[in-house]
Symmetry: C2
Subunit: 385 residues, 2 copies
Amino acid sequence: MESIRRSQPQDFDKVLSSMCTEPHPLAQEAAAEFLATNPGDPATYQAIAELETKAINRLSEVAGLANPHGYIASGGTEANIQAIHAARNRANDETASGQANVVAPASVHFSVNKAAEMLGVDLWIVPVDDDYRADLDAVTAAIDTDTVAVIGVAGTTEYGRVDPIPALTDIAHDAGAHMHVDASWGGFVLPFTGYAWSFADAPIDSMAIDPHKFGRAPIPAGGLLAREQATVDALAVETPYLETTSQATLTGTRSGAGVAGTVVAMEELWPAGYHQQYNRQMDNTTFLADQLANRGIEVVTPTLPLVTAAVQPATIEALQADGWRLARTASGHLRIVCMPHVSRTSLEAFLDDIDRVRPWLLVTADSLLPDTILLDVREGGGFLG
Amino acid sequence: MESIRRSQPQDFDKVLSSMCTEPHPLAQEAAAEFLATNPGDPATYQAIAELETKAINRLSEVAGLANPHGYIASGGTEANIQAIHAARNRANDETASGQANVVAPASVHFSVNKAAEMLGVDLWIVPVDDDYRADLDAVTAAIDTDTVAVIGVAGTTEYGRVDPIPALTDIAHDAGAHMHVDASWGGFVLPFTGYAWSFADAPIDSMAIDPHKFGRAPIPAGGLLAREQATVDALAVETPYLETTSQATLTGTRSGAGVAGTVVAMEELWPAGYHQQYNRQMDNTTFLADQLANRGIEVVTPTLPLVTAAVQPATIEALQADGWRLARTASGHLRIVCMPHVSRTSLEAFLDDIDRVRPWLLVTADSLLPDTILLDVREGGGFLG
């Protein structure tokens, strides 16, 4: 165990970039207990197979799905791939001609690019509106007779936005296409908002929703949910040597730890615990957004627990050098995900460090300081702007 | 935690059907510690990213790969899918015409069917020889100019056979195709045999090799190894919001538990511990094969720690009713995988139960008993033959 003795998992105190978080302690305990189980072989590993059914039933409650179909996946990427995979296969049954395509907003997660490349379907990426949400006119214009699926995001990776899911669903279904919602990140906070995003809000066909993000399950625990069993069946391959006869998952052997952790986290937290967590993290989000704005930093108004702001690259790099784990959007915004491990104390320490590496904005928020002072700061702190 | 309090992971004592096993205790401990880490986001989760490099380096030692390239996958299915995916993509760069195909023996794991269906490549399944190994003439005959990959199995799922890897590699390379070896199950026992199976034995292009099988890492821990970085690069998609810029894995968020468990298991067991484990399980395999043969049961001569035998379906069902987890091959053989958790004591208990549910073979191994006695047994034991 020499490597591990010298290596510790990161402390979450300074992790502001991740959509994963500290699992619920009891979920972690359950996961450790089930590390040697394989829900991919349900006849051999019966206890974990039963827990997977429980996990899907609970997950369906969160997502407003009355008749649960689906499985616990390795994460949102697998769930997105398999949703597009199912849509492609179901469309193939109906129309043999044409090169299948998928229509998705520019805010869609890169797993959709992965899926399209892999599955050999074209991907039409359409613009988002001024508030980073799918532009309905652009989606409508991109759809053609070969469109097999439309994707909407309920909690985008970069800006935490919720696409207009019911309207997208109408557009998709008018074109005979499958409607998939990627709620991988947003699924465990959206039930406590007014957004229309779920199976209960629109006749969507499938959803990605990850217990291992806001759901507080340990990694790996994603969820693929489907309104119809036919969507899951479209993914099935025969399994000659297992006692069960087919398998609809992308991976074969799967993590029992993730399944057991999901069941325990949801038994502990759904709905009250997740609601409290949402309230707390939205308070932290508002606090951080206000504090950044007070420092003259342009902040994109947050709608879910995620703050994006126009912070200079050099400042971000200086903060990273101090140990903060930070990510940027493709357009360069600093992006802070207020996951459950991100406490008020941690955000206050982060703001203190911002003030230390860019002290001039304590003096004036609206104008640049004279070059001489900037130069002094550069010499002292080793950064560029 | 109500569900988990009522649910326990299966006891491994009666699991004879699985290619997974009890992890090494220290590997399990390390995995539990890293359950909240994500090697899919290496800039944020740096400690686990470093451990993944160690894991790939060690895995490459086992597989005879001098310059390690690859990653820790969710399992053999992902590794097989990604190998075919890379072969397809690399071939596309060279030849734009034709419908790509893959050639594999009938013994290939069903994940290859999954891969072909998903990736839109044709799959030519060719017969095996009388000893369940890839028939070289059949492989040669199936290959055409659109063949992008040939697959050989080093330790087949059903009969534990090792395909003639060097000859298959020659055939593949003569046709300009990628040579992939599926050593998902066999990879941690084959170094202690005389088989030619590894990167050191033939110029193979990629390999699936699973730490979570004989490698004693917890689930999920598979391995994709490649001779050239270009194979891994052929899988990469851009990752706009992560600090790293591309990702070659099939899944996005990945299990740090599997990675940490892999490193610890290999530090503890490679090579001496795995060698001892191989010797012990081959002894158990020989013991079981002999004992079954002594009972007049036709046994397929084992070559790796896996026993297949012609046991009546009703006997298998009676043993399953007693709690034994058993699997059958597609052709109906009982298939017992002598994984590290399968002890001599457990096999003796299994043989006792065989004797109990089919007592007539204690009387005579070579002839059927009179119907009247069979009927008596049926009435007492509730089985059919």
